[in-house]
Amino acid sequence: MILARADQATRRYGDVLALDRVDLDVRAGELVGLLGPNGAGKSTLLNLLVGLRRPTAGRVELFGGDPRDPAHRLQVGVTPQETGLPATLRVGEVVDFVAAHYPDPVPRGELLDRFGLTDQARRQTGGLSGGQRRRLAVALAFVGRPRLVLLDEPTTGLDVEARHTLWEAIRGFHADGGTVLLSSHYLEEVEALAHRVVVIGQGRVLADDTTAAIRSVVGVRRVSLVAGDLPDLPGVVRVEQVDDRTHLLTTDADRLVRELVASGVSFRDLEVRPTSLEEAFLAITAPGGQGTVTVPGQQATAA
């Protein structure tokens, strides 16, 4: 069963094309990561799916209907931005307020316990730490016993421990049969949680597959060496210069090394390593697409 769907969804803001004919199906029981840099269109897609925005063209559906109809949002949980929690309301009151919108909400004590906020129930949200506020914001997505939760950057800005607490809660929800669509620009997060990754860049779906498959599809390797001026080499999608080492991200390390040797350039300390998903992701979201462009060595952008 498909819980959320975008069908050729396009969204413009004035002249800016934020989403460009995006297709996405989220089926019951999936945990899908929506991955992309800032401005890629992740939040716009989530806003369309929860009915905050209307697609300029194409369709979006939530539980088989228009997300702008409140009835179709009964089984969806959404996270507010933690900076927007009403500062003067107490934690318990915020939970009760959201719970009032649902027929069978999770009891307040149980929810706060699950997110480690029991001791803060009487505190005003303005007095919470950033991590506590973030946990409360995520907890609110689960108040109405949703079947699907949409989490927009759920752990941005959290320390490691708080992040893991939240991950546990998300995993627990998924283990009980819940469906999750979460956006992130943390690859670590998507890899740790999601089974399926949808990579978005410049408003388009660039890839939609398992985390492992995404990595192998891109198949970017990092070849690093110490050398002087390098000739044009095949399949280089990115060049970084860190101190005296040159890092070449390439889709075909074997050929690159062969040509490097054949060119007769002197080099030393050659290393070939698999890339992190982050590097793979940068490679496929870079303008110019799937790494067919040969970037000259001077255009180094070290991270």
Partner: protein, 245 residues
């Protein structure tokens, strides 16, 4: 309806947690009562009653312009507001809740005026007239609520505060709220009938005494309601269009 009450409750909680906001709209009319009405008209039952009614109108106006103008503009800045739109309810309960909370705060902010009038002046009112006055307060809240909504939806919060402050004093003074019914300066008498405050205060006077409202003032009040409703509706749709379309 249940949800509207829930929204009203939390709206009130938020406002009352920062009581300065409530003091703000109650303070000026109460002080005007103490400084101008009690010493000058306190011994004259009719004058004191009319002056109290004028101060009540003043309180209604400032409470509504400020809480809607500033409140709505501030809410629009908060990401919490779009979040509530993802909850399974339309925009109606939140709006109804805001209006209910607004009415409650309006009555709260004019309490000091009424208490001062009862304790320190000879203002008199029959129980029937009192009930009628309460109804009229609800009625004259309409134009000022609409004015506040128009300001709140049309402007960013910092501009809304300034505009609310700029608007409310000339309206009070020009409408003759700060002078006795027949003792206003000539230029006030000239412009008053065309301001919404005048129609509002004349209705209040009619509720608490034998005042016969001038037809011009009442008709103009109706015109203001229509115009402000159109303006508020325009500002609301424009804001929706920017943020939710």
């Amino acid at each position: 309806m249940r949800l509207a009450l829930v929204h009203a409750r939390y709206q009130l909680l938020q406002t009352l947690r920062i009581p300065v906001a409530v003091f703000g709209s109650a303070f000026f009319p109460a002080v005007a009562m103490l400084f101008f009405v009690v010493p000058f008209a306190g011994d004259d039952p009719t004058g004191a009653t009319y002056a109290t009614a004028a101060m009540v109108t003043f309180a209604v106006m400032s409470a509504n312009i400020f809480q809607y103008g500033v409140g709505v503009a501030e809410d629009r800045d908060q990401p919490w507001n779009p979040y509530t739109r993802t909850l399974p309810a339309g925009a109606a309960p939140a709006f109804a809740g805001r209006v209910l909370a607004g009415l409650a705060l309006t009555f709260l902010s004019l309490l000091p005026v009424v208490v001062i009038a009862a304790l320190f002046t000879d203002a008199r009112i029959s129980p029937g007239a009192f009930v009628l006055a309460v109804v009229v307060v609800g009625l004259i809240s309409v134009p000022f609520t609409l004015m506040g909504l128009a300001i709140g939806y049309a402007l960013p919060s910092k501009a809304a505060i300034v505009v609310a402050q700029i608007v409310f004093f000339p309206l009070a003074f020009g409408g003759g709220l700060l002078s006795a019914p027949d003792a206003a300066p000539a230029f006030v008498r000239a412009i008053a009938p065309y301001l919404p405050t005048r129609g509002a205060v004349e209705l209040m006077w009619a509720a608490v005494g034998d005042w016969r409202p001038a037809p011009v003032s009442v008709v103009m009040l109706g015109v203001w309601v229509v115009a402000l409703a159109a303006l508020a509706g325009w500002a609301y749709r424009r804001d929706e269009g920017r943020r939710f379309r």
